[in-house]
Each structure stands twice: as structure tokens, then as C-alpha cells.
Amino acid sequence: MLIHYIKLAIRNFRSNKVIFVGSLATLCLGALCISLLFSYVYNELTMDDFHNNKKDIYMVTMKRSPKSEWSLPFKNNYDEYPEVKNSTSLINFEKDKIRLKYNNDIYTPTGVVVDSSFFKVFNFELTIGDKNTILNDYEAIILTEDFSEKLFGDVNPIGKEVDFESPIYQGHHIVKGIVKIPSNSSLKFDVLIPNAGVPYGSWVPFVRLKKGTHKSHFDEKIKKSNNNYPYAFPKLTESTTKTVKLKDLYFNNNFSRIKTSQIFSSGNRNNVDILIIFIFIILLVSIFNFSNLQIVNINSIIKNIVIFKINGALKKDIYYQNLVENIIIIGMSAIILTISYNLILPFFNGFMNVNLKPPFSKVLLINVSFLILITGVGLIYPIIKINHFSTVLNINKKQQLKGKQIIVVLQYALAVILLISSIIVSKQLQLMLSKDLGFNTNNIMRVKMYYPISQAPIIRIGSEEKRVTNKKGITNKKEIFDKPEYIKNQLASFSGIKTIGQGRSPLDIYQVEWKTMQETSGFESLNTLLFSTECQDIFGFELLEGRLFDNEMDHDQEHKILINEAAKKHLGIEDISMTTLENISWGKGFKIIGVVKDFNYEHLASKPKPLIIYRTRGSSNYFILFHNNQNQETITQIHELFNELNPNQAFNYTFLSDDIATLYKKEKRLSTIYMVFTIIALVISAIGLFTIALYDTQRRVKEVGVRKVNGATIHEIMFMLNKDFLKWVIIAFLIACPVAYYAMHKWLENFAYKTALSWWVFALAGVFTMVIALLTVSWQTYKAAAQNPVKSLRDE
């Protein structure tokens, strides 16, 4: 019996090739998109779930004022809290602050210095090394699998010696462990260094609470725990200590400070939600299409079904027959799908900047589940309908499954919604990329000219002999002030350079607690920009009142600041000469010397935020304004100077305009992803329309013949045939427009600067869809219309 079903299935595929190939294509394309997006979304939503105690891991935070919450910047002792099962702290370094030397190569990995209890809180697996003891070995360094491969290739990394350098700690280490970082870890690093007693740094403390402890209870208990902390500067009498769940950290937009380190990654819940909607829409489009192909299929074999029944087939025989056909299709799709999934995954990973490596069994499971979902749901309607067919062969009255039109309309409506949305998304992106930011971003090179090592004590750990090491890296006062002078003089001698400034990039903003003298509700974190006087020219700030910094009038360490319009408004300052600001760490009496016009230094999703500008010198980070363009000769000169100052080190520079483009990299990627998946949804829909057009025109061949014999031209025939199909697409478009309009209106609310929902976007989407549909349908209708009527009439 089974052989009979399989034989029939294969014969049926052969005589309905278009349906068969169309079904395969629908399933493979649809399920491939869905599986890929699902893998990504699943990874985002299960962020940090691999930690056994994911629900009990908290970062300890500090609310310095009602308006600002930071991670608590020092480690603490939790012995007196029975709720705390384990606690650990890690030292977080800012981007580019650490270097690792192996042989003569210097790398700039991301890394953390961790307490010995690190693995008691976080569940990272060591492929080599013992979790319980390795962090007590101060000689040890743990590398991730990927970083180890970058450093040593296939060579066994264990026992290799490397030098670690950071502003607060240097050491000679031996590779003793290899750690695995799952793709759904929000904590990302290349190296782990055991903490041998580094006393300060930007600590990020974590606690693992006992099962069943309520966050609110614990928060209440530790509220005042850090007020008397002896090392705290400034005194924290007004602050409260709290916690934030590790699981909530990833999608949390606060704590931007720890996130500048690249150790703590962050996600965008909004984008994940949009991808979920995409998954649903593509799923629906695939289901609709599959359903439609099945309707066409059943309509084409309806006569056979009746003949089977007349010859003794029961209903269940017909169902089994259908089931066998679909199992074959699912099986073939599963194979194609799993192969293509694995082929595409690396590109998808690279594109989405993730590192998904689902095990084969999981891939197969996901793929087969989606295939079964699509076919299962897609078959509900045809199967129910098939039940109502009578066994009587009635050649005059052809029994046909109806509902194709409605399904095509729904399917196209969804595809058009995707298309309009994708166009709007890329239009919005275009707006953000081309918007005048209000400050100069052209021809500005950003380069770190040297890596300063602080004067603070440097701890060197290791075996006796290795304690004595070279003094090359050690900084002294002379280096801090002489080096910049030398660099400046050298740079000034290069003809391609117009202006040289030093400071933090406006794109890499720093948050510091400020308040006006009058303010009583406490400090709040405000974006603060630190740079030298020259940067004002480089960025071309526009002054609204007061004056800008001036090297003659202003001196180092003076309490003078510039603010932007937004800050003036936000802080409620009427007259800048009547107010001074207080900084939580730097003290009181900051005079406001001027107000600059707002400029967009952050992502354009938001309007310019309040900004405080403080003048400093001595940053190792340089802004170099080129004369007219980014000429290669000057870049080479700067490179040579860098090599002179930092032998053997990699020269890294960026141009500010590229940094700004980087801000939108994620959006750009997503916008491309949306477009690609939209096109796939349209392709899937076209497969359905093509198949329906093929079978429907075939049924009308005789009618076409009669009309032609009676004088109809090819054009008239095509118009008549196309009209029926295109009617559905037009209805779909009319349904899609208001839905897409509403959805995009909502979406644009996320942006401070919104692109217009122009009529032409809708028109473009409509025309595009129509043209594709027209081509799809005409392929068939032309064949029918052009056929010699004598032939078609004789055939019947």
C-alpha cells in the first residue's frame, strides 16, 4: 500500500511539476528565512540564559540621585547578607585600553580582570583548565577559543607566555585555560585575567542570590550599605545601592558607561520585535502560498480522487495519499533547507554581527518544525474541503476548490505591507545618514597617538624571576606632558594638516553627574565632552551666547564650562552668568562661559541631549583636521610618527564621518535584512500566482480558442485573462496601504527626526508589485492567448 502511495506521489509530482517545484521552493525559501530569523531572535531573547542561575544573578548598582543609576563602581563585601550566595567583581576596561603582547605582536583584545569567584556566579565553560582553581593562579590567563585561534592558530595555546598591559595593571601571564563563550552571552571578552589584588579600577560588581530571594527585599536591605564605604569618592551619603537583573541588562539602555567597554553588549528590543513580526508575516505568506498550491494541486487531481474512490478507495486512503505526498515534500525540503541553512549561516552571522552556532540536531529540529507548521496549517483548508466532494463523477459540473482568490489577496496584502515598510525603513535610514548634524564631521581623523600608562602603582604578578621586567611601559610626569608637545609639534609640521585637537570623541560620550547650584533634587548624569580648545574649530561649533574657550584666557583645571542649548533649557538656566554648576566628583563653582547651538552628536533617534563641554589637554586621543581631503600622504606621515612613538604596534585610525556611519551600521544591516526578506516574501507570492495563472489559463484554453475564432486579438485575450488575476493584487494593495501606513506611523515614533510617509512610497510599492505580478501572470496568459485556436479547440 505504501509503495502504491509513494509511486502515485512521484507520478503526481511528475505530471504537476510546477506545483511540486513551487511547493518545494515555497517551503525552502519560507522556512529558510524563518529559521534564520528565528535563530537570531531566539538568541537575543535567551540572552544569558545559559547561566544556571540566570534568574539570581544581579549587577549591583548605585543611584546617586533620583536621575542617575550606575553600576556600583567598587567591590564590596557581602558576608553579612545571607541572601548572597556568591559575589564577584570584574574590572571593566574602556575600548582600546588594553594590549596583549605575544612575541613581537601586539593585540588590542577586549578583556576583564576578574575575582576568583567569577565562575561561581557566571557559568562559562572551560574547555581547558579547572574552573575551581584557575583563578587563584595569578600567573594564569584564560583566552577564549576564538581569540586563542587568532593568536596561535592551530598550535596548542597552553603554556604560551603573553604580556598584558592596561592603564592600571601590567603582568606577565601564561595561558592556562580556554573558555567558551556561548553566542547568547551578553558578556563578551577575549581574555580573562585573575585579579591578584588590583585595588581600584572601574569595578562592576555582581551577586548571585540564593534561590527564591526577592529582588525588592534585597534592594531594600542593601539600600544604604555603601554610604559609609571608606574608599568612596566622593562620599555617597545621598546615594542608594540597588540591583539590576543580569537578564534585564542586555535590553536596558541605561548603564551606557559599562557598555562603552564592549564587554557588556546591548540589544534593541524594538528591532527584535520587528523581526518577530517579520517571522510571522513570512510564515503566513508561506502558509498561504502552500495552501494555494495545494488547492491548485487538488483541483488538478480531483478527477483522479473520484476515480480512486469509485475503485474502492476510502477517505482515509485519500488522506494517506496526500499525507505521503507531503511527507516526501517535507523530507526533501528538510534536506535542501538544512544544507542551505548551514551554507548561509556564516554569511548571516557575519551580516548580523552575531556568532550563532546551533548544533546540527537543533537546526534540523527547527527546520522540520517550521516545515511541518507551514504544511500542516497550509493543508487544513484543502483537507477539510476535500471531504465535501461527492464521489459522483460529474463531468459537466467540474468540482473545484474555491478560495484561491482570497488567499492570494491576503498573501499579497502581507507582501505589500512588508514592501512599503521596508521602503520607509530605508528612507528613514537615508534621512539619518544625510542629515546635517550641526557640526563639522568631514576630513577629521581620529587617532590614538600613544597608550598612556598611569602613574598609579602597577602590580606585576608572576613567578619570582618574572617580577623584574623592563620599564618601557611605565609612565612618568614627563611622559604625560612632553609627549603631547612633541606630537603636536611634529603634526603641525605636516603640510596636509589644518588643525590639531585632543579629546574624547563626541560620538563616544562620557556621562558625569552635574547639577546647578540651586538644584535640590540631586545630581543627574549628563553627557559631558572633554576636549582641547582647538576642537571647537575642528567641529565648528556655533556660539549662541557668551564666548568659546580661548587658550589665552582659560587655563588648565579651571572650573569653566560650555553648555549647549538643550542643557540650558534642561537645567532651567535663565542667565548663564547667574548660575554655576556643581560636579559630583570635580567639585563646585563651574562657571558657564558660553552656550553653543545644539548639534546631533548621538544617534538621530533622539533630539540633541543636554551637553556640558569641559576643556582639558593631554588626551592621547587626537582629532586631526585635514586641509581639504583625507590625503594618503599625510596619513602616511602620521603613521610614521606613530611608529616612532609606539614601535611594533598597530596603527589604528578612523575618520569621524566613518564613525558616524558606524552608528547606523546596525540599522543599515537591518534595513538590508528587511529588504531581502521582503523580496523573498514577494518571490514566494509570485510562485503562487504563477501556478494559479498556469492552471487557470489551462482550464480556459478552450474559451480562449472560441474567442479567438470569433475575432478577439491577442491583446484583448491577455487583457481579459490578466484582469482577473491583477484584480486580486489591486485589492491586496488597497488593504495593505492603510495597515502599512499605521504600522510605519507607529514605528517612526521611535525617531526624533522622521521621514515623511510620502504617497510615492505607496505608489512605488504598488507599481512594483503590479509589474512583478503582471509579468508573472503574462508568462502564462501570453502562451494561452498566442496559441493557434484551431489547435486548442481540437485538443479538447
Binding site: 505530471s15 483522479n304 476515480i307 469509485i310 474502492g312 478507495a313
Partner: protein, 229 residues
């Protein structure tokens, strides 16, 4: 074998209600060869479908082999039909995707007969129908007469007691038509009951008895002189 009492069939569509059969009382004994005649649309095929358990009557009773089957559900009708009734149609109704052999094999598959036994039965009946040399062909590759012979082979392969033929010669030229009629007559001689719908007087002459239908009613029944048979 077949006994209908006041059998009626009404087709309801959205707008119209058609009374395709109106109080039909028909009796067919085992071994009989009955022809049903009448103008187009008078209900011949409808009657045949009901007799063949493909459809239910709207009213009246239908006794098949002594059982009241008029109210049977589709599943029970199929069970009752399996192996007992063979069908032959004007348009052959072969499955294009299956070979001659596979088409004839169909009823045996649904009767769950073993493959080796199927092979024997199918080859035997194809020999009998004189198309044993065409078993691997597909229906499209055969002439109309050959196709109808395959259809008859399929109808009889399970050795049913009753064969229902709806205009079996309607699509054939007279030579092929006669061949088909000879085959049916031969089957009838071997004991198979045959009910045949036809428009052709010549074909009707092969039958023992002719039933004339008009507007869903039996108007006349004529029995041929047994001596002529």
C-alpha cells in the same frame, strides 16, 4: 439483486431544485443484462450512481443484495461496493499517471490483495481483454477502444457480481463499440449482472431488458424475446 422502491433524487443548488429521479421502482435480478435508455438529462446517470452506491437517494428505499443501503454513509457504501460492483464510463476515466497494469490493479490494492496475487489477476484479465501486450503503456498512448477495454478490465478484475456501464460505447467508433459490447455480453454469459446506460438502440439490443426513463420516471419496460438472446 437490485430493488428500488419509490426512489427519488433531488439536487438542490442555490437557485434551482432539480428532481432528477421521481419514484423509480426498478428490479434487477442476478444474471440479468438491463439497458437504461432515455433522453439527455432524464436521470440515467443519477440512477446508475445510486445503484452503484456512489450516491444516496433523497427518498425511497434501495435494497442491494437484500440489504437496505439507501441511507448508508460514504464509508459503508465504499465497503459494500468494494469487490462487488465494477464501473465502466463513457470517458474511460483511467488515471493518466498510472500504466495500464497499475490502473487495472487499483481495485485489488484497495481490497488489500497481495502483490503476487494482484499480478496474476491483472495479467489474466488483461489477456482476456486482449491488451496483455500493452501493460506498461500509459492511457494516453492507447486508442479509445483500447482504453475502454482497460477500463472494463479494471471493472472486472476483482470479479464483481455487478457491472454498471454509463454509455460505454459513447466515445467509440462502431467497430470498437461492438467489441466492447461483445466483451460485456461475454461477461454476462459468465454470470455477471450488467446494468448499462445507452443512447444507442443497437447497443440496447444486446440487453435482455430495456428500461425507458423520462423526466426521472420509468415510462416503459420492454423485455426482449429470450429466444433472441
Amino acid at each position: 439483486m437490485i430493488k428500488t422502491e419509490n426512489l427519488s433524487k433531488i439536487f438542490r443548488t442555490e437557485e434551482v431544485e432539480t428532481k432528477a429521479l421521481n419514484n423509480v421502482n426498478l428490479h434487477v435480478k442476478e444474471g440479468e443484462f438491463v439497458a437504461i435508455m432515455g433522453p439527455s438529462g432524464c436521470g440515467k446517470s443519477t440512477l446508475l450512481n445510486i445503484i452503484g452506491l456512489l450516491d444516496n437517494p433523497s427518498e425511497g428505499a434501495y435494497m442491494f443484495n437484500g440489504k437496505e443501503v439507501g441511507k448508508y454513509k460514504e464509508g459503508s457504501r465504499t465497503q459494500e461496493r468494494k469487490g462487488n460492483i465494477g464501473f465502466v464510463f463513457q470517458s474511460f476515466n483511467l488515471i493518466d499517471e498510472l500504466t495500464v497494469f497499475e490502473n487495472v490493479e487499483l481495485p485489488l490494492i484497495y481490497l488489500k490483495i497481495k502483490a503476487s496475487e494482484r499480478k496474476r489477476l491483472v495479467n489474466e484479465v488483461l489477456e482476456r481483454m486482449n491488451i496483455g501486450h500493452r501493460t506498461k503503456h500509459f492511457p494516453q498512448q492507447l486508442s479509445g477502444g483500447q482504453q475502454q477495454r482497460v477500463a472494463i478490465a479494471r471493472a472486472v478484475v476483482a470479479n464483481p457480481k455487478l457491472i454498471l456501464a454509463d454509455e460505454p460505447t459513447g466515445n467509440l467508433d462502431s467497430k470498437n463499440g461492438m467489441e466492447v459490447m461483445d466483451l460485456l455480453t461475454e461477461l454476462n454469459r459468465q454470470g455477471t449482472t450488467i446494468v448499462m446506460v445507452t443512447h444507442s438502440d443497437r447497443d440496447a439490443n444486446y440487453a435482455h431488458r430495456i428500461v425507458n426513463l423520462f423526466d426521472g420516471k420509468i415510462v416503459t419496460e420492454s423485455r426482449k424475446d429470450p429466444a433472441l438472446v
